[in-house]
Amino acid sequence: QKEVEQDPGPLSVPEGAIVSLNCTYSNSAFQYFMWYRQYSRKGPELLMYTYSSGNKEDGRFTAQVDKSSKYISLFIRDSQPSDSATYLCAMSARPRRAAGNKLTFGGGTRVLVKP
C-alpha cells in the first residue's frame, strides 16, 4: 500500500461545476500538505500549500486538511476548461524550508472540464 493514495480518474465535469479531489495518507508524521497542477507534457506547479488541519482558500480553490482522518481535499469552484490537468497531492513531515525536505506525492487525478 502506498503512503499516499489518490484516485487516478479521469474526472470529467461540465464547465462551471465544482471539482472535488482528495487524497488519503497513512503516515501520521505528515504535517504539510500541497496540491500541484500538472498540464500535459509540463512540470508540476504549486497551487496550494497548507499546514496541519483546517481550510485555506485562494480564489476559486479551497484546500481542506483533516489530519484525524488522514484525508485532504481540493475543491475547484466554477471550473473552466483551462483547469483540465492532472492534480497531484503532496505531503511532507517537515516545513518546506527544511534541509532534506522530501515530498511524497500521490499519483495524481486527471481532470477534464468540458465546455
Binding site: G43, P44, L88
Partner: protein, 118 residues
C-alpha cells in the same frame, strides 16, 4: 527566461547505453532536485543538492549519479540503462534561505526529460 530548464526533452536509447540529462535554474535558488515520474504519474524524489552538497539520496541504483558543478546546475548521469529506467525525469529547485520570501521552499519544476529505453 525559462526558470528551470532541462535538456534533452526527449531521449530514446538502447539498453546498456549511458546517457546524461542536464538541468539549469536561473532563479537564484540554492537547492536542486531530481524526481522520477513513472507511467502511473507517481513522482518520487531521487536526489537533492543544497549549495552543491548532496543532502537527499534515496534508494536509487548506483547506475544513477548526480553531479552539481555549481548552485545553478544539477546533472544526472545514468549508466547501463535498463528498460525500467524509462520514465520522465524532472529537475526542480527551491530556495531555503531568505525566509522573508513568500515562496521560500516552494519547488519549481522543469518541463521534464522523457527517457525511453528500448
Amino acid at each position: 527566461d525559462t526558470a528551470v530548464s532541462q535538456t534533452p526533452k526527449y531521449l530514446v536509447t538502447q539498453m546498456g547505453n549511458d546517457k546524461s540529462i542536464k538541468c539549469e535554474q536561473n532563479l537564484g535558488h540554492d537547492t536542486m532536485y531530481w524526481y522520477k515520474q513513472d507511467s502511473k504519474k507517481f513522482l518520487k524524489i531521487m536526489f537533492s543538492y543544497n549549495n552543491k552538497e548532496l543532502i537527499i539520496n534515496e534508494t536509487v541504483p548506483n547506475r544513477f549519479s548526480p553531479k552539481s558543478p555549481d548552485k545553478a546546475h544539477l546533472n544526472l548521469h545514468i549508466n547501463s540503462l535498463e528498460l525500467g529506467d524509462s520514465a520522465v525525469y524532472f529537475c526542480a529547485s527551491s530556495s531555503r534561505g531568505r525566509t522573508s520570501l513568500p515562496n521560500t521552499g516552494e519547488l519549481f519544476f522543469g518541463e521534464g526529460s522523457r527517457l525511453t529505453v528500448l
